[in-house]
């Protein structure tokens, strides 16, 4: 876990350095403001409406704590102070002590509860994006190249359907076909890491990732296709063709490279939908990730867990959005320049 965080911080640092410090800091500041407001709002929503601190402690811990456990929670998490002070303590606990609260139902600290689940969700999201790109890039290139031909129409139809189909429907359908009918994949997804059992890992993650990847791929195709069509009409593409470059080379080297920004944008804008989708998909395929944990905690009213979970998810979204933004300006210096001037 620590290694992952360190690698992430290093990558982010590299991006900030490459993207230009001034722009990066500006974005960073903006995102910190958003993070603070959102987490404060979540804290207020979670903790408002209790008549006294002990009742609040009961709520936050979930279940039926004994009086001295509740009293300890009141003391440890300063539940008797006003919400702003509680928030400041929460911020300190979150960042300095990595203390996210305690879950009575699961009988362990929320941090311990969430640690392994973060991994599942991050892997699932990553696979979904990779799958999505693997499906989308060749399809979009083909659609742009064969623009308005039947194959393009068919791709458009599929991407329209894929974009709109609810994850619930897609997931149930895939599960019916591959798990119940053809029995290719196991019915219950157990927690399995690639370094423990690679085959099992693939079998457990393939369908959930595919369920998430299909809507993603549809959005990527839409973005990339229209961008490619515009790029294919640019002068440098005509020049490349005139100089005798083969269509394949023109498409994949000249046009695609200059259209990839739209894909990066699409990856960023679809992030929220992707994380929302993991909730449904993890629940459907019985994967133990952040999403299924959130559903369970919400249903059992385990408010410490819910609050910390949502905060972790928001932090993830905010950091990845920053990374996407910076990547954007690293791969296209024109963006950096335009933004520096603006």
């Amino acid at each position: 876990m620590l290694i992952v965080i360190l690698v992430g911080v290093a990558l982010l640092g590299l991006l900030i350095w490459r993207a230009g410090a001034r722009y990066a800091l500006q974005r960073l500041l903006q995102l910190i403001v958003v993070f603070v407001i959102v987490t404060f709002a979540i804290l207020v929503v979670m903790r408002i409406g209790a008549r006294n601190p002990t009742e609040l402690a009961f709520r936050m811990l979930g279940g039926q704590p004994s009086p001295d456990v509740a009293a300890n929670a009141v003391k440890d998490y300063h539940l008797d102070r006003n919400l702003v002070v509680q928030y400041l303590y929460w911020l300190r606990d979150f960042f300095v002590h990595q203390d996210l609260g305690y879950s009575l139902k699961d009988n362990q600290t929320v941090a311990k509860l969430l640690g392994p689940r973060v991994m599942t969700t991050v892997l699932l999201g990553l696979y979904a994006i990779i799958f999505g790109l693997l499906i989308a890039i060749p399809t979009a290139v083909l659609a742009a190249y064969k623009r308005d031909r039947p194959i393009d129409r068919i791709i458009n139809l599929f991407s329209f359907v894929g974009f709109g189909v609810p994850e619930v429907v897609l997931g149930v359908l895939l599960k019916l076909l591959f798990v119940v009918h053809w029995k290719i994949f196991p019915a219950v997804g157990t927690k399995m890491y690639p370094w423990n059992d690679f085959g099992g890992h693939v079998r457990n993650y393939f369908l959930p990732a595919l369920t998430l990847a299909i809507p993603l791929a549809s959005v990527y195709v839409r973005f990339l296709r229209s961008d490619m069509i515009a790029t294919l009409q640019a002068d440098f593409v005509t020049l490349a063709t005139a100089k005798g470059a083969s269509p394949t080379r023109v498409l994949w080297r000249h046009a695609l490279r200059n259209s990839l920004f739209s894909v990066v944008t699409a990856v960023g804008t679809q992030l929220g939908a992707l994380i929302g989708g993991t909730v449904v998909v993890e629940y459907l395929f019985d994967l133990e990730g952040l999403g299924s944990q959130l559903v369970n905690s919400v249903l059992s009213r385990d408010l410490f867990t819910v609050q910390s979970l949502v905060a972790v998810i928001v932090a993830l979204v905010v950091v990845i959005n920053l990374a996407v933004d910076l990547t954007y300006s690293v791969i296209d210096p024109r963006v950096r320049q335009a933004r520096a001037l603006a």
Partner: protein
């Protein structure tokens, strides 16, 4: 090369034929037909009461006993209810909840967007921060959290009493619709506010309220309607997802799917038909939104 391809999506709308496509007609027909059917279902004799179990010769049938057929058109579910009757009856919830929350979202999001785009300055800054914050929390996660909390708060605050589960979901869903709508309306307003007709209105001393009402709003309606339809699809599927996660109402397609999916090998019909209803409804709303977007040439119509 374009003159032989009148249907091309990437062309400006002026070059396209005016006749609506077959798909659009089908989509409108599906939504309208479904609305009528669900409204009149109680008085149509061939549709069963959704809360009465299917009986043959007075006997309740076992779980998944009847497949799709004459007695029950789409079979019976885990508890012996008529799947077709339930699918039709629950359309009312999906459609009204989607529609009402979209309307609230349109009013609130539209107002915020126009204010931000028209007044600029600190109003814009504050509203933009609110939008950014709302967008930072993935929609479904925000919904999960809020619905459960509204439930709890009802116990503490008696004035929340009339807030049934259905209204909790409507409120939450409309909150989800606010941010994307406000962002698009803001962008459109900013593009419009410096156009000549607005400047002309302002130069003859028209008040801000009147400029917004008479000059800006009519120009914003196409965008808002377009986004409303695409958004309707998203809200209907969000409602189903909530019900699927057991946090919505029980009278919903999503809950039908959840309740029957574990025994899908015994009765595929009880899971797949609600899926089909959900799919077709969401697709129809999306299709109408998509066609409107092309017609009005709206950018960024995907919420």
């Amino acid at each position: 090369m374009n003159d032989e391809l009148p249907e091309d999506a990437t062309q400006p709308h002026g070059a396209r034929r005016r006749r609506p496509s077959v798909w659009l007609v089908l989509a409108v027909a599906w939504l309208a037909g479904l609305a009528l059917l669900t409204l009149f279902a109680p008085i149509i004799p061939s549709i069963r009461d959704p809360d009465a179990k299917v009986r043959i010769a007075g006997k309740v049938q076992a779980a998944y006993k009847l497949g799709p057929g004459n007695t029950a058109w789409w079979g019976t579910d885990r508890l012996g209810f008529d799947v077709f009757a339930r699918c039709i009856a629950y359309a009312k919830n999906s459609l009204t909840m989607g529609f009402v929350s979209m309307t609230i979202g349109l009013i609130v999001g539209g107002t915020l967007g126009i204010m931000a785009g028209y007044f600029r300055g600190w109003v814009d800054r504050v509203i933009s921060i609110i939008i950014d914050c709302l967008l930072a929390v993935p929609a479904l996660i925000l919904a999960l959290m809020l619905i459960q909390r509204l439930d709890d708060l009802k116990e503490t605050w008696s004035f929340l009493g009339p807030l049934t589960r259905k209204w909790q979901i409507i409120l939450t869903l409309s909150l989800l619709a606010v941010a994307p709508l406000a962002r698009i309306v803001r962008a459109q307003t900013m593009a419009l506010r410096d156009r000549e007709f607005v400047l002309a209105a302002r130069s003859i001393g028209t008040s801000n309220a009147r400029i917004i009402r008479r000059e800006l709003l009519p120009n914003l309606v196409p965008t808002m309607v377009t986004v409303a339809f695409t958004g309707l699809g998203i809200l209907v599927s969000a409602e189903a997802a909530l019900a699927f996660l057991q946090l919505g109402i029980k009278e919903s397609w999503g809950y039908m799917i959840e309740a029957n999916r574990k025994q899908i090998d015994k009765g595929w019909w009880a899971t797949l038909f609600p899926c089909l209803m959900l799919f077709l409804t969401v697709m129809s709303a999306n299709l109408i939104g998509d066609r409107l977007a092309r017609r009005f040439d709206t950018k960024e119509a995907s919420v």
